[in-house]
Every structure is written in C-alpha cells, then in structure tokens.
C-alpha cells in the first residue's frame, strides 16, 4: 500500500536473484525470437530450409494483396472475437465478482472446466455438433426453421463462434479479478457525491477495472490473431488466417523466411498493444488492480 515503503534488502547478491530467470529467458525466449527475426531477412532455400543470403523478399511478399487481405481479415476476426468476449465477458465477470466468495469460486470453476478439456477434442465435438446431419441441423429441421441442412462447418461464422467460446474464459478471468478488487465503498462514495449508477459506471467502475479489461484484450486478441487449430478445424483450411499461413510456411510449403516474417508481424502487433497499455497504466496500477 505505502508507496514510500522500501522493500527490505535481501542478502543474496542481485545476480543470484535475477540470474536463473534471465538465463532461462535469454536461452529459450530471446535467442529463438532473434533467430526468427534473423531468418525473416534470409532467402528461401530451393528445397526448403534457409539460405543465408540477406534479402527483403519475404517482407515484399507480405505486402502482396493476397497476404494483406489475409492479415487484415485475421485482424478483423481477432478484433470481433475480442470485442464480443469483452461485451459478453464484462457483465459476466461483474456478476461473478459481486457474488459471495464461495459461489464466485464455483462459477469460476464452471468457467474453467472447458479449458481442462483437450482443445482438439473440444473442436472435434464442435464439428460433430455442427455437421450437416448433426444435432443442431436436426433440431432446426425438426422445428421447421430450415428446409434443408445448413452447411455450418468451414464457414467464417463458425470459426468466429469457436474463437469466442474458446477465448471467453481468458477474457473473463482478468476482468473478474479487477472487478473483484474494486471496493464497494468507491461505488458508494460516487453515489454519495450525486452520481447516478450509469455515471458511476463510466467514471469509476470502468476506469478502475481498466487494467483487467486491457489484460483481457491482450489475452484474447493476440492468441486469436495467431491461432491455427481453431481456424484449421472449424474453417477446414478453406478460409485462411495468419496462423494457418505461418503454420503452412513452416510446414508443407517450407518457406521459412516468409513464415518468420509473418511471425515478426505478429510480434510487432503484440508489442504495439503492450506499448499502448504501458502508456495508459503506470506500473503500480498494473500491479494493484
């Protein structure tokens, strides 16, 4: 609480405290990342692999209309996923946070259960449910809402639905923890000073839970932008997203430099988001809330 309070000085030298983690991060995060950046500036090998001749070829390819369209579409889909998760998730997180702790933890548990299921199994289940002679189509036919089975699989709509349900828990959890920390007396003070509930929401609740909202954005948008299993299975490879292209470049197509360049692009988008966040919130706010 007290900002002036200093942490007690530890007896361990600093290198012993930060050394192991730093080494780990350098070995397994920084170096591989730099390697990706390095490869993105190299030439594609004739039979796959990488030839170490510097070139901007991969980035030029990225500027191609086909790739640009895929990138923009991926960003759009990730954005719609994120916004939907926020709009659905915030009221839900608020509802949970205002429940007594024992009920809240049970609701959180319900939210977490899907995450414990293997994602391939979950996606296969989705495919079974939505296939042409699956239960959804059968139900709609029985109710007379449709005359012949609808092709749900491999459509943008189903991909979007899959993304939203997959990422909703990741949006709810950080927002829940922010809202849960929001003191009731803040809301009371606002009401006491003459603010209607709607004014209190915009002026107090939302700004004070903003760190949770931003965490939710980062935890939803970035993976949604990079995902390939969901888009692969529910989109059937018919609709292309950045994640699928990266996977294909490193896999079947064996154009590593292009895959690396796409990865760098994803990295840059992530970095930009985190940069914006650090502009909005001070370190203390990120910690406290």
């Amino acid at each position: 609480m007290n900002a002036a309070e200093k942490k007690p000085r530890s007896k361990l030298p600093m290198i012993a405290q930060v050394g192991p983690v730093s080494l780990w991060m350098i070995l397994f995060v920084t170096i591989p990342m730099l390697f990706i950046v390095f490869i993105s500036f190299m030439t594609r090998g004739t039979f796959g692999g990488v030839e170490y001749t510097p070139t901007l070829e991969s980035y030029r390819t990225l500027a191609d209309v086909i790739y640009l369209n895929v990138i923009l579409k991926s960003i759009r889909v990730a954005a719609v996923t994120t916004i939907t998760c926020l709009l659905v998730g915030y009221p839900f997180a608020y509802y949970i946070a205002r429940k007594p702790p024992d009920i809240a933890s049970r609701l959180i548990m319900l939210l977490m259960i899907p995450l414990w299921t293997n994602s391939l199994m979950r996606l296969n289940a989705w495919m079974l449910v939505f296939q042409t002679n699956g239960p959804v189509n059968k139900a709609l036919l029985a109710m007379g809402l449709i005359e012949k089975p609808v092709m749900f699989l491999y459509t943008d709509g189903l991909v979007l639905l899959g993304l939203i349900t997959n990422f909703l828990p990741f949006a709810v959890l950080p927002m829940y923890s922010s809202i849960e920390k929001l003191q009731n007396s803040m809301l009371e003070a606002s009401a006491d000073l003459g603010a209607k509930p709607s004014v209190t929401f915009w002026k107090i609740t939302l700004p004070l839970t903003f760190p949770g909202i931003f965490s939710a954005i980062i935890l939803t948008f970035i993976p949604a932008l990079g995902t390939y299993t969901i888009t692969d299975m529910l989109g059937g490879g018919k609709v292309l997203y950045i994640g699928n292209i990266i996977k294909n470049q490193f896999g079947t197509i064996r154009n590593w430099p292009l895959g690396a360049a796409l990865s760098v692009l994803l990295l840059l988008i992530t970095a930009l988001l985190i940069f914006i966040y650090s502009r909005f919130a001070s370190i203390e706010e990120m910690e406290v809330l």
Binding site: A3, Q183, E188, D192, L193, V288
Partner: protein, 364 residues
C-alpha cells in the same frame, strides 16, 4: 424536548434486520440543525448501520427517515442531500486530489470556473492547498482524510455523515484532527453525524452523544450530562472510568439514599428510589475520597493496592473486603499513602449516581 421543526434528520421507529439479526431496534432519533451528534457504542451496536441508513446505502426494514422534513427511505444515495466521509477515505485512486474534490460539482455540471474556485476554497479550508495534482496514493492518511472531507463538503450538504473517519490515524494526529473537525463544524454550521467507538473522541467533539448498544440508543445527551448522569450501568461503565457498586436501598431521606453494599454502607443521591430496592451506584474515580477515619454514612474499608503515575493524574487501585476493586485518581501525589495501608472510602453523595436495575434489563 426540541421542536420537531428544528430537526434536520429524524428517524422514527426505524428497524433494521439482516436475516435473523436485529441490528437496529425501534430507533427514534431527532438530529438538530447545526449540531454535532455522535453515535457512540462498541462494534456491532448498529451505529454504522444507522449512519448508512441515513446515507441511503442500507434500506431500513421499516420506519421513517426524514432529511429536512422530507421522507428519504425510497431515495437512492445520489438523490439525498447528505454526504459521507468514509472510514477508509475511499478517494478515487485514478483521479488527482483536484478531480476527487471536483467530483460532486462536475457531476452536477457546474461551470468549470466555478468548480475551480470552489475546489480551491475547499482545499484551503482543509489546509490542502498546493496538493491539487497529487494522486491519493502519494498522500498520508491524515492528508487523505482532509481531501475526503473537502470532497464531501464541496457539495454543501445539509448533513455531513462521518463513519469513524479518524479510525486509521495514529493517536496524536487523531487528537489534532478531532479539534480541527470540531472547529470546522462550528465554522460551517453544518450538522455533523459522527460515528465512533472511542468515547474520548465522542466527549471531545460532540454537542450531543447517543450511546448505543445492541441496536438501541441507551442514553442521549450532552457529554457532560452523560458523564455526570449516566442512566444505566452500561453508559456509566462505557463513558470514562467508573466505580460501580451494587447494593440495596436501606433508607430514603428526600433524595439522599443510604445503600448497603457487600462492603458496607454508602450514601448517594437519586430520585424515585424506594427502600429495599436493589440498585447500583456509580462514582467516578476523581470524585472518590479516602480518609483514615470512618466518615458519616460510609463504612467501606479499602486497602491500597498500587499506584500508577499517568502524567497529570495518579491512579490508585483499592481492594475492598469483598475482593472488588475501586479506582481512585487525583492530581497530587500523597506520599503518606503506602501500598497495603487501610483507609475508608467516601464521597460527596451528590457526585455519585444511583441507577435503577430496571434500566439495565435492556442489556440482557
């Protein structure tokens, strides 16, 4: 009794239940315009709940609450003409001191220049000028409380509700803030309703104190009235230090009562007591006297147990024959009083208070 028209806040037969918990019981309270009224009691006595019902954070289960003659039970907190200073300050952490204080007027869409003027005025009033740009986290507890007071007062409330506002401050700062708050209240002429469990604080600041226990106001009156004429054992015990002796009235002469206790006879004054009635008698340590000889009407023997020097006063504990302990205090040390010495206890019967036992059946 004050005229109802003088009261700015009034509670009539107010009840509050939390499930099976009866927290406020048939509360009737008239708070006068411009007075400093303190709700005093141990934790869980319903004092904060009472305050929160006036503010509108809690709904009364039944009863009538009026502010300036207008019924407010159905009104939301933001519609009530009262403001609250919270125990934990509750400053908005994402706003500067200026924005915190300007919150009320900004919501009421006052012109920006007027807001600026008022905020400056309020910060000067609580001696916080120059802190406008600070964030609450960069303020000390006392400074936060000053800002919280300014943030409430800027709305020109009819009534300011204060919920243990000094509870988190250290003793010295608390004493200083008590005096400042009292002066502020006098200067502004606003009604303060103050909640505390600290009887000394209540004595220092209040025009009137309502002593509460278990959801009931036991006694309401000026600090002096309550100190000198507690109407029940609990009030006598809770406010200041008290020696309370149980006994039976043996004779009544006018308002002078002879009371027989386990330790001997004592005298006290009191109206409306009958011979044979069981009562208790409260005497403040500073009104107690001791002598070597038996004094007229008193026959309680005491042994000096120990002395405690408290700076301005010396407190002496006395052991009675029954094992009961009396407290005795005076300003000047008496070197002739040694531990183990035997003395007789007496006092001016007008200084002690006779208390009906019926009054404390509310206790049970």
């Amino acid at each position: 009794m004050p005229e109802p028209s003088d009261s700015i806040v009034s509670l009539h037969q107010v009840e509050k239940w939390y499930g099976n918990n009866h927290v406020v019981k048939n509360m009737n309270l008239d708070i006068q315009k411009g007075e400093f009224l303190t709700l005093l009691g141990p934790s869980g006595c319903g004092k904060t709940t009472t305050l929160r019902m006036i503010a509108g954070f809690e709904d009364a289960t039944s009863g009538i609450i009026t502010v300036q003659g207008e019924r407010v039970e159905e009104k939301e907190p933001y519609q009530r003409d009262v403001n609250t200073v919270f125990q934990n300050y509750s400053l908005f952490p994402h706003m500067t001191v200026y924005d915190n204080v300007a919150y009320g007027p900004t919501i009421k869409k006052m012109p920006k220049d007027d807001i600026r003027k008022k905020v400056e005025e309020m910060l000067a009033l609580v001696q916080m000028s120059g802190y406008e740009k600070r964030r609450p986290e960069a303020l000390s507890g006392g400074q936060k409380q000053r800002v919280a007071i300014a943030r409430a007062l800027i709305n020109n409330p009819r009534v300011l509700l204060l919920d243990e506002p000094l509870g988190a401050l250290d003793l010295k700062l608390r004493k200083q803030m008590q005096i400042e708050l009292k002066r502020l209240q006098k200067k502004l002429g606003i009604t303060f309703v103050y909640v505390t469990h600290d009887q000394e604080e209540a004595m220092t600041m209040s025009d009137r104190i309502a002593v509460m226990r278990a959801g009931v106001i036991l006694q309401i009156g000026s600090p002096l009235e309550i100190y000198n004429h507690p109407n029940c054992r609990f009030v006598a015990d809770f406010i200041g230090e008290s020696n309370i002796m149980d006994g039976t009235v043996r004779s009544v002469k006018g308002n002078l009562l002879r009371v027989e206790t386990d330790d001997g006879m004592i005298l006290t004054e009191g109206d409306g007591f009958k011979g044979g009635e069981k009562i208790c008698v409260s005497i403040r340590p500073e009104y107690l006297s001791i002598s070597k000889d038996v004094q007229d009407g008193f026959s309680v023997r005491a042994k000096i147990k120990d002395h405690i020097y408290m700076g301005t006063v010396i407190k002496t504990s006395l052991d009675l024959d029954s094992g009961k302990e009396l407290k005795f205090s005076r300003f000047e040390p008496d070197p002739s009083l040694k531990e183990g010495d035997e003395r007789y206890v007496f006092w001016d019967p007008a200084k002690s208070v006779a208390i009906h036992l019926e009054a404390q059946e509310v206790d049970a």
